[in-house]
């Protein structure tokens, strides 16, 4: 069954059809939540909450990019979580070792399919990106995650973040600039192979 048919069935209350859509988009929603929140558990909670909200509000979907519509629900769930976090004592984003020291490149961030060197490189890169994303204000972070990590176009980002197109453009430019400044500090620490790829692409 194609996506529009699954959406129509889900709108009529077919949970199986909706769950097939969940399986198709859960990685995208989880990654978005993980980048905005920077915490695995919170990202999983936000993703689950987003799918639940999406199912309840499915009749409000009126066409267009379904991915963007779903990403809007997860962005809202992330904003809610960030507001809650402001009211609560913060918890460290990195896991701690036995002596209370934060582990900067935790093993749980690694892709088990990659070689040890690749795992190390990915963990380093991941750490640098997350550190710089966390330094951004939440509304800038959401825009850059949606555009550059999830690959949405400007119209979809505007829809997902509930922002005017002009605001998306300006926030994206500002966020990229800040990220570039932040990543500059990590540049020499980034994997050599990765630097070569980036410089070649540039």
């Amino acid at each position: 069954m194609d996506e529009p048919s699954l959406i129509r069935s889900a709108q009529r209350g077919d949970l199986e059809a909706f769950n097939r859509l969940v399986l198709a988009y859960q990685d995208a929603l989880y990654n978005t939540a993980l980048r905005i929140l920077g915490d695995e558990e919170l990202a999983a909670d936000a993703t689950q909450e987003a799918f639940l909200s999406a199912f309840r509000a499915l009749n409000a979907y009126r066409g267009g990019s379904f991915k963007a519509w779903l990403l809007r629900t997860v962005t809202n769930a992330c904003y809610d979580e960030l507001r809650r976090r402001k009211r609560r004592p913060t918890t460290p984003l990195e896991p701690e070792s036995d002596d209370g020291e934060e582990i900067e490149s935790p093993r749980w961030l690694a892709d088990p399919a990659a070689s040890p060197e690749e795992q190390f490189d990915q963990a380093e890169l991941n750490h640098a990106i997350q550190h710089c994303l966390d330094a951004l204000p939440a509304n800038f972070r959401a825009v850059v995650v949606l555009a550059d990590i999830e690959g949405l176009d400007y119209t979809e980002v505007a829809r997902a973040a509930r922002l005017p197109l002009g605001t998306v453009k300006s926030r994206l430019a500002r966020a990229r600039l800040k990220l570039r400044e932040c990543l500059q500090a990590f540049w020499e620490l980034l994997p050599a192979a990765f630097r070569l790829v980036v410089e070649r692409e540039a």
């Binding site: 909706f18 990685d27 990654n31 993703t47 689950q48 799918f51 990590i149 300006s170 980036v198």
Partner: protein
């Protein structure tokens, strides 16, 4: 020339191919002439490239929803409310019919003594006394009934006569109006119908729940 934020916005949009053609052409000519602007474009491009290569994670578990999470309930077949309302209506009709019959029975019971007194007798006890009395005293009323009792005591031999016995046999049956009314079947037909319709509604609901549980096992 100093790079302004407006320039950066344009460079970012240009990078994503979101700049109108005329503006893109103007920017390209500026980029060729302004090394600082070209350097800013390069920085934005690098930042975007890093983000695009950010490691992606797989979802740690399936985020599929269960019927409980989604608050789904077994669908109620359309016939269920129809049967339920029909059952309720049949019950109401049964109650009215049964209540009517009962009231009628009460009314007819209370009417018996009146008819008997009209016929010439008093209460049932008086009627029994009369049957033991002499034939000529068989139909008194009120004070006459009391007199009759006294007379019956005074002339016991009279009740023993064959004439008196035959007269008593003729007078003993109650008039037809005083008989208990016959049991009418209609109230019970409505009761049966109500039970049947209610049972059908329950069965349909149960069957729908069974189908739902088979479709979404816990």
């Amino acid at each position: 020339m100093k790079t302004t934020f407006r320039d950066l916005e344009q460079l970012s949009a240009y990078l994503d191919g979101q700049l109108p053609q005329a503006e893109a052409a103007r920017l390209e000519s500026r980029l060729a002439a302004d090394p600082a602007l070209a350097a800013a474009l390069e920085e934005l491009r690098q930042a975007r490239a890093v983000l695009r290569r950010a490691p992606r994670r797989r979802a740690p578990r399936a985020f599929t929803l269960t019927p409980q999470m989604a608050g789904l309930k077994p669908p109620v077949p359309r016939a269920v409310p129809v049967f339920s309302w029909a059952s309720a209506l049949a019950t109401l009709i049964f109650l009215c019919a049964f209540g009517g019959a009962w009231m009628g029975q009460l009314t007819s019971r209370s009417a018996v003594p009146v008819m008997e007194s009209g016929y010439g007798g008093g209460p049932a006890e008086t009627q029994e006394v009369i049957t033991e009395a002499a034939p000529m005293l068989a139909a008194p009323s009120g004070q006459e009934a009391a007199d009759t009792t006294r007379l019956a005591e005074a002339t016991p031999t009279l009740s023993a006569t064959p004439e008196a016995a035959s007269f008593t046999a003729q007078e003993q049956p109650l008039p037809p109006q005083a008989k208990r009314p016959a049991v009418r079947p209609w109230p019970f037909v409505w009761l049966g119908l109500a039970a049947l319709l209610g049972g059908a509604a329950l069965y349909l609901r149960w069957a729908a729940q069974r189908r739902f549980r088979r479709r979404y096992p816990r």
